[in-house]
Subunit: 335 residues, 2 copies
């Protein structure tokens, strides 16, 4: 059922398994030891960055399937996407798996979007097992969105580092072992505070994140203290500060429970990532490498995972358009 904008899943979708595959730099960060597979180098043994990204997606999808001791044919469908034009990293990978497929585009909010729609299919009795996935690769994304890597363009202080990372989550209708479930979710509305600097996406997405959180707390009647962790996808330092400022103005006190995956994935001082991490893979890998394991182990009990996306394109930026942001929220609980 739904109340206002929030889906309440009477039959929750269980998180059965999850897997994260990341690049070398992500493996050298604070969460490096948490990931299932860390690449020796970001080419993943392939000839092109695009093939490398697909190998990474394949690795995280297969990881989630294998941990559940299933075959790809036992998965109902895959929901997911990536940052490359026409979402080819995901579709070319899924092509080789023979699974039904829903292609999604939520920019860096794709992991949360796939969890919402996947959980809705499971909760609605349409699917028994769905795989939700999202990925990004620094080298394929930078080339497409900004400059060829060889150009060596100078990055501004507000710029973020596109994560080389993929995360996949297997949701099931029956509790098949795990104890974490998607119990609620909220798809976001688009907010556009007028930011036109494509190197400052955290600021562009922050209002959407705040509005989703405000709407969620207003509908549920809860406050942030009801959660052990409230985490946005990739606002990084600039966007995180905007969310904190908006919350302060609104009288919402996060009580130290709020952070952002873009700040967790890298050591900002040592790893030269400027404002922090970004990309679909950023929140996907932090979810699968750190948040879900902490829920499974009981270190966390209730988490709001809020995927944030900047719905721009290089063309809209060059045409002078501002950057619309969206934030999709997923409530993960030990039940």
């Amino acid at each position: 059922m739904r109340k206002n904008d929030v889906y309440f899943f009477e039959r929750p979708a269980w998180v059965r398994t999850y897997s994260a595959c990341v690049g070398k730099k992500e493996g050298e960060g604070p969460l490096g030891k948490c990931f299932d597979v860390v690449a020796g180098d970001d080419r993943f043994g392939q000839e092109t960055w695009e093939q490398a990204e697909r190998t990474m997606v394949q690795t995280s999808l297969n990881g989630a399937i294998q941990k559940a001791r299933l075959q790809p044919g036992e998965i109902g469908c895959i929901l997911g996407g990536d940052l490359l034009n026409q979402c080819v990293s995901t579709s070319y990978t899924v092509r080789d798996m023979g699974t039904r497929f829903f292609g999604l585009y939520g920019a860096c909010s794709t992991m949360a979007e796939s969890l919402i729609l996947g959980a809705a299919l499971v909760a609605g009795g349409m699917e028994d097992r769905v795989l939700c996935t999202a990925s990004s690769h620094f080298c394929s994304a930078e080339r497409q969105y900004r400059y060829p890597l060889q150009y060596g363009g100078q990055r501004t202080p507000t710029a973020q580092w596109t994560a080389t990372a993929s995360g996949s989550v297997l949701l099931t209708a029956r509790q098949e072992g795990g104890r974490v479930a998607v119990t609620r979710a909220m798809a976001g509305r688009i907010f556009d505070p007028g930011v036109t600097d494509a190197a400052n996406m955290g600021a562009a997405m922050a209002q959407a994140a705040f509005e989703t959180l405000r709407g969620y707390f207003a509908t549920t009647g809860e406050d942030p203290a009801a959660y052990d962790l409230i985490v946005t996808g990739d606002l990084a330092a600039v966007g995180r500060d905007v969310v904190l400022e908006l919350a302060r103005e609104e009288g919402i006190d996060f009580q130290g429970r709020y952070t952002d995956c873009g700040l967790l994935l890298y050591d900002r001082e040592a790893q030269d990532v400027h404002a922090g991490g970004s990309g679909c893979g950023c929140s996907a890998a932090v979810l699968c490498g750190s948040i879900l394991p902490d829920l499974e182990r009981g270190r966390l009990r209730r988490v709001l995972f809020c995927g944030t996306g900047a719905l721009l394109s290089p063309l809209t930026t060059s045409q002078g358009e501002s950057i619309p942001g969206i934030c999709h929220l997923v409530c993960l609980e030990v039940i």
Copy 2:
């Protein structure tokens, strides 16, 4: 519930209203009189092709909302996408409507994909009213996928004409007037017969269309005679012939009930569209301009609407990759 790959909606999603907005050429085709709005010129009064496409999307979304005598705030969410990089035609349009949004990318299968997920959200009790939408614009798409229009590139005989068109369908949980419903649906698997010619997408998608139809008939135990119309999205002449050939080999007799939206939208002889129409807007506009009105009026009773998508990108083509196809099926019935 689901049986094999087919969703059977016990609570069907009702088609309340629908609206199609198309370009000048589409207005001059055989279905020209069927569309709600036909542009005087394809710029839709805007400065850029991208803004023109958004105006067209806005027109079809507003058309569906206004026919239902609703305000945008009474719509639960919008599901949809388009062909432009990062799906900006849809997201920038939705930005101005303040509605919850799920961005989809299914290439030219997007209209069918949005109907499946929209119907699943309605059938699962998550949403009361969802708007499903898809669009494409010849000028914005050609520039992005092929050549600048000014270049005047020669088109091959297998090439298709990207429709300048947008269609939007309002699905509701309760029967609020209409008598057509989405009763079943089937998300597709990806098939790739190895076509590498990006000017022959009909052939690349035909196998996926055939496999979806074969799987659907095998699961339901029905044959094509159970439907008044079986229509694929944009296989056009080349892909349609491949589907007919594959069906013949398999012993499936369409009994003259099968055609393709890419053949319905234009007069191939008079309008110089080579193999026929394509683009997300092709099937979306034929659905909203012709198929749904014919169901509403009782000229058709049961229809299989099969959105077809070629999940390539210009980059994968230039890297020598073949073209994966997908086909999502939606069963529309007068009940």
